[in-house]
């Protein structure tokens, strides 16, 4: 490329005033900035000693949980939308016919491989009934690979453990009142959450 090429954009350096050319104002500016930071509050969180503060649990993407409905049953309707949306293919659902009248299917088994999961939150976005959610539990550890494959009980227990601290996200959104939702809860008579 030639220097005369019309595609070259020649940028003029900013003109410096006398104050800037004296260098002293810039000198002081730089020094004030660093000195301010030198004495300002530090942002480091000394993690094992000090728990990090999660500003907004609503948008934090930690360990999953499977939500329960008012009767304590798993909310999931085994629609497979989350498994389809999951880019890491780590959700494995076995949907069977539901023992309850308000829905056709429910997951007999529901496993998430937390080691494969990339915590992208797509499952949460895909779910039509807000059954799967990502909590703000960030310190996920395990001693074996098997331990990191979360089954339905474990995911429900995550809900039990976190529901007080983090209410269901849909509960914090403006309520959507559809006639089917009210009738379904009213007519359901089946036992709550039929075990594994």
């Amino acid at each position: 490329m030639q220097a005369t090429d019309p595609d070259i954009r020649w940028v003029e350096p900013p003109k410096l005033g006398l104050g800037e050319r004296m260098y002293l104002p810039l000198f002081l500016q730089g020094l004030t900035t660093t000195t301010k930071h030198l004495v300002s509050a530090k942002v480091t969180v000394s993690y094992p000693d000090q728990e990090p503060e999660i500003n907004n649990p609503l948008i934090y993407r930690g360990v999953h949980r499977l939500n329960r409905d008012e009767q304590g049953r798993v909310k999931c309707v085994a629609c497979f939308l989350c498994a389809t949306a999951c880019p890491a293919h780590c959700i494995d659902i076995l949907g069977v016919e539901s023992p309850w009248e308000d829905r056709e299917k429910y997951p007999e088994s529901f496993t998430i491989d937390e080691l494969r999961c990339i915590f992208c939150g797509m499952c949460e976005q895909a779910c039509p009934v807000d059954a799967i959610e990502l909590t703000s539990l960030y310190n996920l550890t395990g001693r074996s690979r098997e331990e990191m494959i979360f089954d339905k009980e474990k995911l429900l227990s995550v809900y039990d453990a976190t529901k007080d601290k983090e209410p269901m996200k849909s509960a914090q959104l403006p309520p959507v009142t559809t006639p089917s939702a009210t009738t379904s809860t009213a007519t359901s008579t089946s036992p709550t959450e039929g075990g594994a």
Binding site: Q2, H37, S46
Partner: protein
């Protein structure tokens, strides 16, 4: 015979400890400026006591000692070994003439004055410098700081590596260029105090009560900038800039040899801080602590010691904060600064100091106390005028882009 040996032991131990802790301080300040906490975990070994991380230097030292001492096959073995040794030896030897305090009283009982029964341990007060009364002290410091350049160049050359070699070349150009303004600034101090002996320079400032920073502001600025460059600290750390030269002259070094280089670097910074304090900031002097050496009490001596070391630490902290305040100079800017700005400023300062010294000698009898005020005012005016002149002339600002009008070569479009 024993006295210098004790002093050498104290100085060596103190310097090594100081260098280790200044590394910690450097890391702390780096962290604090970046809003981090910095090393705060290592305390007493094998316990859970953390002590704000004060054990870190020990851990760092242990790490360096235990690291593999690897000598690459392509290096010049003898020079490779010689470089770190020579640089550290030169950096340590400088401290032979640098007073690390004022004096200690001759008697153990002189706590507040001479009135108590005196049991003299030595004849006269003990000067706190390894080689007291060296009348070419400043020249010696200069000579040895030039030897340090050889350590860098030899290290870069022996490494047989392009980056190291470039680092060595850069440092030779940089250090030699900045020795001139450094020398000019020192020369004006020597002119004003009439001695090359560091102790006497401090005494001159202490006796008159006016530090040279007040009478030679321009010299101070020149000296500090040149000292930054001599110590190869940011914004003048071109010999070893990590981003461009991956460490420069010490790229190939590992283990203890690298440690020697790094310690020498910190010693250079300490030397520079000591020189700034001794030459321009009055050394151990603070108003109220003056007085002849013979009448120093223990309280006064310890006070002087503390004042000197506080000043030095303050200057070093300034060095470290500056590191995070300004970006590194480009090499041509560095050279332009040395030759087009620092050198003329140094000369102006030297001439101004000479004129004011001569004038105050001539006018002392007529004006009395006013001479000091007039020379102070005059030197600050000279400083301001020179500063404005530099800003107006802007020798640093040049357009180094391709000239469109005379540009002829064409790059092969295939490339």
């Amino acid at each position: 015979m024993l006295e210098p040996l004790i002093k050498i032991a104290v100085l060596l131990g103190g310097l090594m400890t100081a260098a280790a802790y200044f590394v910690l301080l450097e890391r702390w300040i780096a962290a604090w400026v970046q809003d981090r906490l910095g090393p705060n975990r290592v305390g007493v070994p094998l316990t859970r006591i953390r002590l704000f991380g004060l054990g870190q230097p020990m851990a760092d030292g242990g790490k360096f000692i235990l690291k593999e001492e690897y000598t690459p096959a392509h290096v010049d073995k003898r020079l490779f070994l010689l470089a770190p040794i020579s640089i550290l030896a030169a950096a340590l030897a400088v401290f032979a003439v640098i007073p690390f305090g004022s004096v200690l009283p001759a008697s153990v009982y002189t706590l507040f004055g001479q009135d108590a029964a005196t049991v003299a341990l030595t004849e006269g007060p003990v000067p706190l410098v390894v080689a007291p009364g060296v009348d070419v002290g400043l020249l010696y410091v200069f000579a040895l700081s030039s030897i340090a350049v050889y350590g860098v160049i030899v290290g870069g050359w022996a490494s047989n590596n392009k980056y190291s070699f470039l680092g060595g070349l850069r440092s030779s150009a940089q250090l030699i260029s900045y020795e001139l303004p450094l020398g000019l600034a020192i020369l004006s101090v020597v002119l004003a105090s009439g001695s090359l002996n560091l102790d006497e320079i401090v005494h001159h400032q202490a006796d008159s009560g006016v530090w040279f920073i007040f009478t030679q502001p321009l010299g101070f600025v020149v000296f500090v900038i040149a000292a930054f460059a001599e110590a190869a600290r940011l914004p003048f750390d071109l010999p070893e800039c990590e981003q461009e030269l991956i460490g420069g002259y010490h790229t190939e070094y590992t283990g203890m040899k690298l440690l020697l280089f790094l310690v020498a670097e910190f010693l250079h910074m300490i030397t520079a801080a000591f020189l700034i304090v001794l030459l321009f900031l009055g050394g151990w002097h603070i108003w109220g602590l003056a007085g002849p050496d013979e009448q120093v009490t223990w309280v006064g001596a310890v006070g002087r010691l503390i004042v000197l070391h506080l000043k030095v630490t303050g200057v070093i902290v300034f060095f470290m904060v500056v590191r995070w305040s300004w970006p590194r100079f480009r090499f041509d800017q560095l050279m332009a600064l040395a030759w087009k700005v620092m050198l003329p400023l140094g000369m102006i300062n030297l001439v101004a100091v000479a004129i004011f010294e001569e004038l105050s000698l001539a006018l002392q009898s007529q004006l009395g106390g006013w001479t000091l005020a007039i020379s102070l005012l005059g030197s600050w005016l000279v400083c301001l005028a020179a500063w404005f002149g530099v800003a107006y002339a802007t020798p640093m600002i040049g357009d180094n882009r391709v000239r469109k009008d005379i540009h002829t070569y064409e790059v092969d479009p295939q490339i």
